[in-house]
């Protein structure tokens, strides 16, 4: 089995990290340029070859029409969502985009998911080079405020990159994990995460129990449409305006120049974090030179509205946690944009304490992801993450009103059940529309998915279908339906409103020219073998448990036969056979798994009956 890493798939930069077994500490993996930062920029050549990272960033200046940056802002979004951003980005949206945006890079169009997959593949290659061995599993971080579609798009991107995504972790929680390990903090912690494209605030409680440390998220809030990019856009807009007025030059006609100006303005922005002024000296295509001194005071006045926008989610998160700012024991800063002195001052003023920034704000999320990856790898740990879902989940009812099923900030996994029946005679399907958001009306909330429950025809009101909405540990929705009359239960395939179905992702995997070099079947075999290895190890472990003695001998023998059959298939190269034998072993060990689970639960509840009297 290949190795496992933690990945921060950021708007501006992406990183990959792992836990060094020698020290037990997480560490970032450097790329070919020596830096652990991989700019989230992708460029596609005329011959179809792909550049990712620093080399692609250079291309932004020379061939902006083939290059894309900040693709994270397009993930899980439809065309209508990004209209206002389009004017400031050089890449072109393909006109046929509607619910899933396609971007034109050179001759081909790509979805945001595919582009993100290219970034992930690059990081995977960095890691494989570092380990001199395969890497096939990852924990990937997402903004805490990402909705279901955005999360699913991230998971799909991982899959397309050839990575099994073990878990999506919220960025502030990952940062808390890295800090908790580093600083050994306990108590109430506020994580203020201001990155390139997204803003998150999470309020956590860190507790030590006899089993280990618990990182419990109490509330989270944010804006997935707010980040350092907005500050850059403000600077760029003003500069363009000044150039238009003073030099009669419209930079919209010079896209490459616009990108160069953007780069220089960003450099100046960075400089202003350490100095009171920075000068931009920019040669224009017309021959004149645009010279501008940026003073910190002016800069702060100009970008204050963007920083102010971060405070509303902060207030809401604290209100939801029923806490006051002064009650926080610690405040932590994450994300490149927190280097701006104005931001630090605001956070310090609000929480009445100097915020932590000892860990590199660019690296801390990847480090946390690596820690979570190692927790999952070992299957047991002395750290436990209890995260929450950021948005309320509901279904549309009569009159376009949303009935809330799972409130925001519910600890995940979380679920809710609803009973449905038919309204008219001979009705064979019940249509459901699932949404995320806090508003009363469906049209003001975010459409998540639609599906139809099939019911056998009959008189109205006879059908009784119980639907379970489950938000898993990744914050992604699963739907299960149970016909109460037949007791049949099954997983419901939903049609996502802003993303691809499993079948579509599967097709992309098969069709992708980029991955043609890797034989599809060979990759499937690797995946199937990994799954087989996992269940074989787990079965061996279970058979060694005392509780397994309760199994009848015939069952033990059946399991043994299934294991042998699977091992045989593993040796071969037929991935479908490996999968079949894996399923068979799964079935053979079903009873055993329940026996062990039963034991675990019995032991816990048995000894802890509370007596109120």
């Amino acid at each position: 089995m290949g190795r496992l890493v933690g990945i921060d798939l950021g708007t501006t930069n992406s990183l990959v990290a792992y836990v060094d077994p020698a020290t037990g500490r997480p560490v970032c993996i450097p790329g070919p340029h020596g830096s652990p930062l991989c700019p989230s920029v992708v460029s596609v050549d005329a011959d179809g070859s792909v550049l990712v990272g620093e080399s692609a960033r250079q291309r932004l200046l020379t061939q902006p029409e083939r290059t894309i940056y900040s693709v994270k802002r397009l993930m899980g979004r439809g065309l209508a969502d990004v209209q206002d951003e389009l004017t400031l980005f050089p890449f072109r949206i393909a006109p046929e985009s509607q619910q899933v945006i396609r971007v034109r890079l050179g001759e081909k169009t790509y979805t945001a998911t595919e582009i993100s997959a290219l970034i992930l593949r690059e990081l995977k290659a960095w890691a494989e080079r570092h380990f001199s061995g395969p890497v096939d599993r990852a924990v990937i971080t997402v903004p805490a405020y990402f909705n279901d579609a955005q999360r699913q798009a991230t998971k799909d991107a991982g899959r397309l990159a050839g990575l099994e995504v073990l878990r999506l972790v919220n960025e502030p929680t990952a940062a808390a994990l890295a800090y908790g390990l580093h600083e050994k903090q306990r108590g109430l912690v506020a994580v203020y995460d201001f990155g390139g494209g997204t803003f998150d605030i999470s309020v956590l409680k860190l507790i030590s129990t006899s089993e280990g440390d618990i990182y419990q998220v109490l509330s989270t809030n944010g804006d997935t449409h707010l980040g350092g990019d907005d500050i850059d856009n403000l600077l760029l807009a003003r500069a363009r305006q000044e150039i238009l007025e003073h030099y009669a030059l419209d930079l919209d006609e010079h896209p490459a120049t616009l990108q160069e100006l953007r780069r220089d303005l960003i450099r100046a922005k960075h400089a202003l974090s350490d100095s009171d002024s920075a000068t931009v000296t920019f040669p224009l295509p017309s021959g004149s030179v645009y010279t501008r001194e940026l003073r910190r005071a002016d800069f702060e006045a100009q970008v204050a509205p963007v920083v102010d926008r971060t405070m509303q989610p902060v207030k809401q998160a604290l209100a939801d946690a029923q806490l006051k700012p002064g009650q926080m024991d610690e405040a932590v800063l994450v994300g490149g944009s927190t280097r701006i002195p104005l931001v630090r001052r605001r956070v310090e003023e609000y929480f009445h304490r100097a915020p932590h920034c000892e860990l590199n704000p660019d690296e801390v999320v990847a480090l946390g992801a690596a820690v979570q990856a190692s927790i999952l790898d070992r299957g047991t740990s002395n750290m436990l993450l209890l995260d929450v879902t950021p948005l309320s989940l509901g279904i549309e009812t009569m009159g376009g009103v949303v009935a809330k099923l799972i409130p925001r900030n519910s600890t995940i996994p979380a679920s809710a059940q609803e009973l449905f029946t038919t309204g008219v005679d001979h009705q064979t399907g019940i249509d459901l529309h699932v949404l995320q958001g806090e508003r009363e009306l469906a049209r003001d909330c975010r459409s998540l998915a639609r599906f139809t429950l099939k019911v056998p025809p009959g008189p109205a009101g006879l059908a009784r279908v119980e639907v379970k909405f489950l938000i898993d540990a990744n914050g992604i929705l699963e739907v299960h339906a149970r016909d109460l009359r037949t007791e049949e239960s099954r997983r419901v395939e939903v049609q996502p409103s802003y993303g691809m179905t499993d079948a579509e992702v599967e097709r992309l995997l098969e069709e992708s020219i980029d991955f043609a070099e890797q034989d599809f079947a060979a990759r499937q075999l690797i995946e199937a073998r990994n799954e087989a290895e996992t269940i074989l190890r787990a079965t061996e472990k279970s058979l060694a448990e005392e509780a397994s003695r309760e199994m009848p001998v015939s069952e033990r023998r059946a399991i043994g036969r299934a294991m042998t059959a699977l091992r045989d298939a593993w040796e071969g190269s037929d991935y479908k056979l490996v999968r079949t034998r894996t399923d068979e072993l799964n079935q053979a060990t079903a009873h055993l798994a329940e026996l062990l689970m039963n034991r675990v639960l019995h032991a816990t509840v048995e000894g802890k009956r509370l007596d109120e009297v």
Binding site: I207, T209, E211, G212, I214, Q372, I375, L376, D377, R378, G379, T380, S381, L384, L385, L386, A403, K404, P407, S410, T411, I412, P413, A414, S415, A416, Q417, E466, L470, I471, D472, A473, R482, L484, S489, T534, I535, R537, A538, T539, K541, E550, N586, T589, A590, H591, A593, E594, L595, L596, M597, N598, V600, L601, H602, T604, K608, L610, E612, V613
Partner: protein
Amino acid sequence: MGQTQTKPVIPAACWSCNFDTGREHFCTACGRIQPLAPGADFFSFFGLPQKLQVDAAELEKQFHALSWKLHPDNFGQAGKRERALAVERSSQLNDAYRALRDPVRRVEYLLQRAGLRKEGATKQQAPPELLQEVFELNESLEELREARQSCNGAQQAAPLRKKLEAAQLNFEGKLGEVDAQLAAAFGQWDAALAAAAGEAQRAELMARLNEILNRRSYIRNLVANVQKELAEGIV
């Protein structure tokens, strides 16, 4: 002779050995985990009787202890079926904790199960003895809104704000009173349960709890409105 709780008498046969499981988590005969009963009782998940007074710290400890055992992260190396079971179980744990940790949610849950309240519906009942004060409050709110819009708004607004702040304090006090009534009713309920009270007495207590909840809802709404109005105009 009343029972301590009415349990639905739905025969539940174990899917494996056909024994009557009585809707427990595990079949008492063969020990297999049972499918989660629809609308499973959150109190019994924590091994608690349906009493309304709950030690919050103790509940949290239980929650943490069960989280360690059930969280999907601790099944990273386990087979598919175990992992699916862990997700199901921990979601039930989280749902149960969410329902029980907040006293108001807790009693709402109890009443929902008894069929007295519909999930998500909040009924508000204006306490008749407060009608006069509520009327005056609404007047003040209206005056403040108008003052804000007029030209010498700041001048007029100041004394109105003072009046509203006083009203806010007043209603927050009332909210405190209602909460105290609720707490007292919790005690009565628990006592009734311990004394194996009959159907009629429990029904009466539940009706009272329901009524207090509705009043609380109304007053809390008032306080929220005033807070919102006062917060406006503050940057």
